[in-house]
């Protein structure tokens, strides 16, 4: 067995493990034979273990052979040779994707073990693990992708699973409304991503990252695009990354996401999903290197996010929101690091931050108990100091900053006031106009038809 064949087998194992997990759980649920909790737990453990084993084996093999990039091709999903159109199923294991893949399996495995106990006898246990499997599949596909189309594939799966998990406790309306909100932001990000992907495909003739980066594995590649194209495509990808990672002005969704179960909050919004935007920027780093304006935009966005999130974190009154904004602060800093041209430091930062935040979020339900234990041990209350910044500022300035932080930068309000309400207002007006037009041909006023059911409901 050659090394190449071994890489292909291991790469296949990395990708097939979450796919099989998703198919098995999903199929059994659709067939009306949902698996028992213990079965789901075992299957999840097996899938995560296999995937982790394969990804670590790839890492070891790459180190042993000195290879910095391994491409695993599964052929074309679709090809139209006459139009030179290929949708390649290509995956790339390099210094960026392998750490991410290993990190994903480790954290998702940890969360899976936690969730199997945390959600024990919860009515949505199977549903949680189905969405969890979808998320795992999406993350692995996105991080190991070798083409921008495959990355988009995983990107969408992550987005859908995230939105549905935020709305996990769907007996209440607040999680559902928040889930809908998050989905809205993700759709904007997905639209920007898709446009960028198609433009990249159109410009280069392919969506392969190897072609994008020219010669040299990550992070040494140099793009073949000119600065203008790099700026245009990079800006769209930056918008996509901002939506996915909760950068300004989309920061409002992150604390809303804490409505979901703690395990999903930990792994998605503290650890993995929130870093997917940063991953995208790292993957597209050759574009950043080509355009100073783009790099400047990335730095500015990162710093703005870090500043706002840092302020907001200080005024939150529940631990998960506090951690969400703390997480966002770090994501902002990571983004700024990427914009400044650093590559390995942000990657290490992501790995460390993801592990720390996962731990903190998993401990979040116990935070009150933890505080009580500490205070009992020291025999007194924990000291609370006023913020240094607030002590030095005039009172009215401090109150303004506090208000800005409490309202989370008024970003949600701005989006609601200048985007959502005008949009809904405009189409609400169209709706009334249509009902009036149709009503002019009817003998009943338009509003009666909207609420009065048919006397004989025809289906």
């Amino acid at each position: 067995m050659t090394v190449g064949v071994l890489f292909n087998l291991l790469g296949g194992g990395v990708l097939l493990a979450p796919l099989c997990l998703f198919i098995v759980i999903g199929f059994m649920m659709l067939a009306g034979m949902p698996l028992a909790e213990w079965a789901i737990t075992r299957i999840t453990q097996a899938a995560v273990f296999c995937g982790l084993l394969c990804s670590v084996a790839i890492l070891v093999l790459m180190l042993a052979t000195g290879r910095r990039e391994v491409l695993v091709d599964f052929g074309d999903l679709v090809t139209i040779p006459q139009e030179h159109f290929h949708f390649q199923l290509r995956f790339m294991f390099d210094r960026l994707s392998v750490p991410f893949v290993v990190l994903t399996y480790v954290l998702v495995g940890t969360i899976g073990a936690f969730a199997s106990r945390y959600l024990h006898r919860e009515s949505g246990f199977g549903r949680f693990f189905l969405l969890y499997a979808m998320f795992l599949l999406g993350m692995i596909v996105a991080t190991a992708s070798g083409t921008i189309e495959t990355l988009f594939f995983g990107w969408e799966l992550v987005g859908l699973s995230s939105a549905l998990l935020v709305a996990f406790f769907h007996e209440r309306s607040a999680p559902v409304i928040n889930g809908q909100r998050i989905w809205s932001i993700y759709r904007v990000a997905d639209a920007a991503f898709l446009i960028a992907a198609v433009m990249l495909h159109h410009t280069l003739g392919t969506g392969s990252f190897s072609n994008l980066a020219g010669s040299g594995p990550w992070p040494a590649g140099t793009t073949v695009l000119n600065p203008r194209d790099s700026l245009l495509i990079g800006s769209l990808l930056l918008l996509a990354a901002a939506g996915k990672s909760g950068l300004v002005p989309f920061s409002g969704w992150l604390p809303r996401a804490m409505e979901g179960p703690t395990p999903s909050s930990a792994v998605f919004y503290g650890a993995l999903s929130v870093h997917l935007g940063a991953f995208l920027l790292l993957r597209m780093s050759p574009l950043l290197d080509q355009s100073m304006i783009l790099s400047g935009m990335v730095v500015a966005l990162g710093l703005a996010t870090a500043t706002l999130a840092s302020l907001a974190a200080r005024v939150q009154f529940d631990v998960k929101s506090n951690l969400a904004f703390a997480s966002l602060t770090q994501v902002g800093i990571i983004t700024a690091e990427i914009g400044l041209g650093l590559r390995y430091i942000p990657l290490i930062h992501i790995i460390g931050h993801a592990c720390l935040r996962t731990l903190q979020l998993l401990r979040a339900p116990n935070v009150l108990q933890d505080y009580q234990s500490i205070e009992n041990a020291i025999g007194t209350r924990l000291p609370q100091q006023e913020e240094i910044l607030l002590r030095r500022l005039p009172k009215h300035a401090a109150i303004r900053i506090y208000r800005l932080a409490f309202e989370r930068g008024y970003l949600d309000d701005l989006i609601d006031r200048y985007v959502v309400r005008p949009f809904l207002g405009l189409f609400g007006w169209f709706e009334k106009l249509e009902r009036t037009t149709i009503g002019s041909l009817d003998d009943r006023p338009p509003q009666d038809r909207a609420t009065t059911p048919r006397t004989e409901e025809r289906t």
Binding site: M29, L30, G32, D76, L77, V78, T79, I80, Q82, E83, F85, F87, R127, E149, F152, F153, E156, L157, L160, A163, A167, H170, E171, R172, S173, V176, G179, Q180, W183, S184, R187, V188, D190, A191, L194, I195, V198, M199, H201, H202, F423, L424, L426, F427, G428, F430, E431, E434, T437, I438, L441, R449, A450, T451, P453, R454, E456, E457, R458, T459
Partner: protein
């Protein structure tokens, strides 16, 4: 050149008609439903047999034909549409709740199926026009029974019929590229846009969904027969400017409908506008005269039809139990029908081109092709898809999430309903996993359409004045009056090109096989 081994198409059309006649004598609704199921199943089987023969290009005996000339054809364009139409009717009957059997006219449903299949398979333009007009009748009748008036639906369909007939007449009786011909093709395009619900002629669509049964409304709009007729009648001869105008109107309608879907107070109306937006996306892609974009359009057509049919049928299943669902509250139906909720979501996501579903590759091709033609168009298509994605999940959340809905009746779906929606979902998922076959066939159809258009336009530009008469309308290649010198060119242009790549070939008229250079 091939001929089918049996009169599959004729059987597929005749079986529902005969069964409709039989049902008029049956009083038991359950027996009517069983007969309808058998008829729809038989029709689907015949269509599939015909498609399989064409796919594998089997040689066979003489073509079976009425009056020495078969009016029906399978070619690259309609080969997936025919089984899709038959399948839609089958699963609609399958998913009809027992308690609603008395309120459904199965005979009318079967007649409309026959008319639809005939429309999709008819060879001649006038026959297609007649069938398009006749196809309105069953739904119009049901609409009349409920509303006791024509309403906007009736008026729009009357305008559609008038423009269709007038447009085709002008096209056939005027010189190519003359003012009358252009007016004629514009009327044709206008008629088919009305049928497709383009703004501002879209008001009949929500009215139809408001007053007619959801099942009938779905069957009337989901096959997108207006788009099919546009491709057959107008696309080959329409000037580029007209196609661009169609595209602009379609995109505008798609944006409008996508926004309207988000502000509706009823799930049914939200679905109606969502469907309108999707169908206009398909129309928008038709302006492209490049194979890649048109391929994406044709792929998106199939995926949207499947996805929206499943989405709508699931909604119908739920409304059959709960009545109309409000978008101002959360219905909490997940606890009662979790599997239906999953299928609802999958079919809805398929319609927006979600990865892993049949719509993904089509959406990618549509966007890629549109950006090649016009970046603005491509960007707008992406934004419309994003808005439609919002609507899909919004409808899902309002229907299935929320506090558990108390109910005195069993809200669980019946096995027949689950089978119906599961069948669609299976096709959606399998199509997503193995898209090459249908993408390849759509590419062949797109290439054929573009080649056909190019041949007709070249032939028209070479024709001189003093035309003496027109070729017999035995195909969709409308060339108008021609001179004797141009006959050879026109005949070549009007001969259906044959695909040498093993895909679909037209059924020839037995009497003309020596005149046409088909092989």
């Amino acid at each position: 050149m091939i001929s089918l081994t049996a009169p599959w198409l004729e059987l597929a059309i005749g079986l529902p008609l005969l069964s409709a006649a039989l049902i008029t004598r049956i009083r038991d609704p359950r027996l009517s439903r069983s007969v309808s199921l058998a008829a729809c199943g038989g029709s689907l089987g015949c269509i599939v047999a015909a498609c399989v023969e064409v796919w594998f290009d089997t040689s066979a005996g003489d073509a079976w034909s009425f009056l020495g000339k078969s009016p029906l054809v399978i070619d690259s364009l309609n080969v997936p549409l025919l089984p899709l139409a038959a399948l839609l009717y089958l699963i609609t009957v399958l998913a009809t709740l027992g308690g609603k059997l008395k309120s459904i006219s199965f005979s009318s449903l079967l007649v409309s199926e026959s008319l639809l299949l005939a429309t999709l398979g008819w060879r001649s333009p006038w026959g297609l026009v007649l069938l398009l007009i006749l196809g309105i009748a069953p739904t119009l009748l049901e609409f009349w029974v409920v509303r006791q008036r024509l309403g906007l639906f009736g008026y729009h369909m009357a305008a559609f019929a008038a423009m269709l007939v007038g447009g085709l007449y002008l096209v056939e009786h005027s010189e190519p590229q003359s003012t009358a011909s252009i007016i004629g093709v514009t009327m044709l395009a206008g008629a088919l846009l009305v049928r497709s619900g383009i703004f501002p002629f879209h008001l009949w669509v929500p009215e139809l969904f408001e007053y007619a049964s959801l099942g009938s409304s779905l069957l009337f709009v989901t096959p997108m027969v207006g788009i099919y007729a546009f491709l057959r009648l107008a696309f080959p001869i329409a000037p580029d400017e007209l196609l661009r105008g169609v595209s602009v109107l379609s995109v505008a309608t798609a944006v409008y409908a996508a926004g309207m879907a988000l502000v509706q107070s009823q799930a049914r109306r939200a679905f109606c506008y969502l469907f309108l937006s999707h169908s206009c996306l398909v129309l928008a892609g038709l302006s492209a005269t490049r194979a890649l974009s048109l391929t994406g359009t044709l792929c998106a057509w199939i995926s949207i039809s499947l996805g929206m049919a499943g989405f709508g049928l699931t909604l119908r299943t739920i409304e059959a139990r709960t009545g109309r669902l409000s978008m101002r509250s959360f219905a909490g139906l997940f606890f009662h029908t979790p599997r239906l909720a999953a299928l609802f979501l999958v079919t809805g996501l398929a319609s927006i081109g979600f990865p892993g579903t049949i719509g993904f590759v089509g959406a990618e091709l549509l966007v890629e092709g549109s950006i090649q033609n016009s970046p603005t168009l491509g960007i707008l298509i992406v934004m419309i898809s994003a808005l439609n994605g919002l609507a899909v999940l919004k409808i899902y959340f309002h229907v299935f999430t929320g506090p558990r809905r108390p109910s005195s009746i069993d809200l669980r779906s019946r096995p027949a309903e689950r089978i119906a929606v599961l069948a669609l979902t299976t096709i959606i998922v399998l199509g997503g996993m193995f898209p090459q076959s249908y993408v390849g066939s759509r590419y062949a159809a797109a290439s054929h359409l573009i080649e056909q258009r190019s041949q007709i336009r070249n032939a028209a530009s070479h024709l001189t004045s003093g035309f003496s008469g027109r070729e017999e309308a035995d195909s969709f290649f409308i060339t108008g009056p021609q001179s004797a010198d141009a006959t050879a060119t026109a005949q070549t242009a009007s001969s259906p090109p044959v695909h040498q790549n093993g895909y679909y070939k037209s059924r020839p008229y037995p009497a003309e096989s020596s005149a046409q250079s088909v092989d």
